[in-house]
């Protein structure tokens, strides 16, 4: 892998990596604002109706949320290990780390889906079966945010899982992509992790003391 040549428009591999990294961070900055708008909406709700938002947040499953956070943090550690393995030119650990990353990502989606199922059964899904009398209008607003934010996060994660699996397959088959590609997928993966790091306390932790 280390003897790969840069794409034709670059003089060296390090120049190519620098350009790709810069572009990836520019893309991630737009993603920050994308999720930032959702969080701004959440802050407005929470400032306006702190007690109602806290009461609604109590209906989320904090244990499942915490487990999912641990799963995602672990997947990020495996992704970082994969990048280190690529640097050290060790193919087998690299493929194994990528597979571990993808499996943990899929576990996250599975646990999230189970949570969605529980919430559906409790009548917490806006526009489908939201129990207005039980949870109130602000509760519906909170769960709208919840399904939008976690749903968009899950879409991002699914894209990441597909990219990681394609990378693992290509490297396993001896057709690795150009050197910056794995790093760029890694940056994206860690960004999706960071989004969850902030969603977790905003969604699962309010209203646990009452």
């Amino acid at each position: 892998m280390s003897e790969a040549s840069p794409a034709f428009q670059y003089a060296t591999l390090s120049q190519q990596r620098e350009a790709a990294t810069l572009g990836m961070w520019a893309f991630l900055a737009t993603e920050v604002l994308f999720f930032g708008a959702l969080i701004a909406a959440y802050s407005a709700y929470r400032t306006a109706w702190p007690a109602e938002i806290a009461a609604a947040a109590r209906h989320t499953r904090v244990a499942l949320g915490a487990i999912n956070t641990a799963v995602l943090l672990t997947s990020s550690a495996f992704m970082a290990t994969a990048v280190a393995a690529e640097e050290a030119d060790r193919r087998r650990p690299l493929v194994l780390c990528l597979l571990a990353t993808a499996v943990l990502g899929l576990s996250f989606i599975g646990i999230k889906g189970y949570e969605y199922w529980l919430e559906y059964r409790e009548g917490l899904v806006p526009a489908l079966n939201f129990d207005f009398g039980r949870y109130g209008g602000i509760g519906e607003l909170f769960f709208l945010f919840y399904f939008f934010a976690t749903g968009l996060h899950a879409v991002h994660l699914t894209i990441g899982i597909v990219m990681v699996l394609v990378l693992a397959a290509r490297i396993g088959a001896g057709r690795p992509p150009r050197p910056p590609v794995l790093r760029m997928v890694g940056l994206y993966w860690h960004f999706v992790d960071i989004v969850w790091i902030f969603l977790f306390p905003l969604i699962y932790l309010p209203g646990r003391t009452g």
Binding site: W25, L28, A29, V62, L73, A85, P201, T209
Partner: protein, 106 residues
């Protein structure tokens, strides 16, 4: 490679400790500090991920500026939205206009 791995998995352990801390603290009645502590711990976790996993500690100055720009614009987004909502009141209507009926629209 082993040195990089040591860093990565030490950070992983720190992230899990922080996760346990923030989850535990959420059950203590700290009033408005619950939110402050939760956001502070989340920011610390994000900082660890950005610096170690996303290799910002090894990146060039320009890449760091790009990363910082994303954060700066997020703060502008949250700051201006917050300032707007914090200062929204019922529109001030002078008494004179309230007492008299407005002319009917044609």
């Amino acid at each position: 490679m082993s040195r990089a791995l040591g860093w990565i998995w030490a950070c992983w352990a720190a992230l899990l400790v922080l996760l346990a801390t923030t989850t535990g603290l959420a059950f203590l009645p700290l009033g408005r500090w619950n939110l402050v502590v939760a956001i502070a711990i989340a920011s610390l976790k994000a900082l660890i991920v950005v610096i170690v996993f996303m290799e910002l500690r090894r990146s060039s100055g320009l890449v760091r500026v790009f990363a910082g720009a994303g954060f700066l614009w997020l703060m502008i987004l949250l700051g201006l939205t917050g300032a707007d909502y914090a200062n929204r009141h019922e529109a001030y209507i002078p008494n004179a206009f309230q007492r008299h009926e407005l002319p009917a629209k044609r």
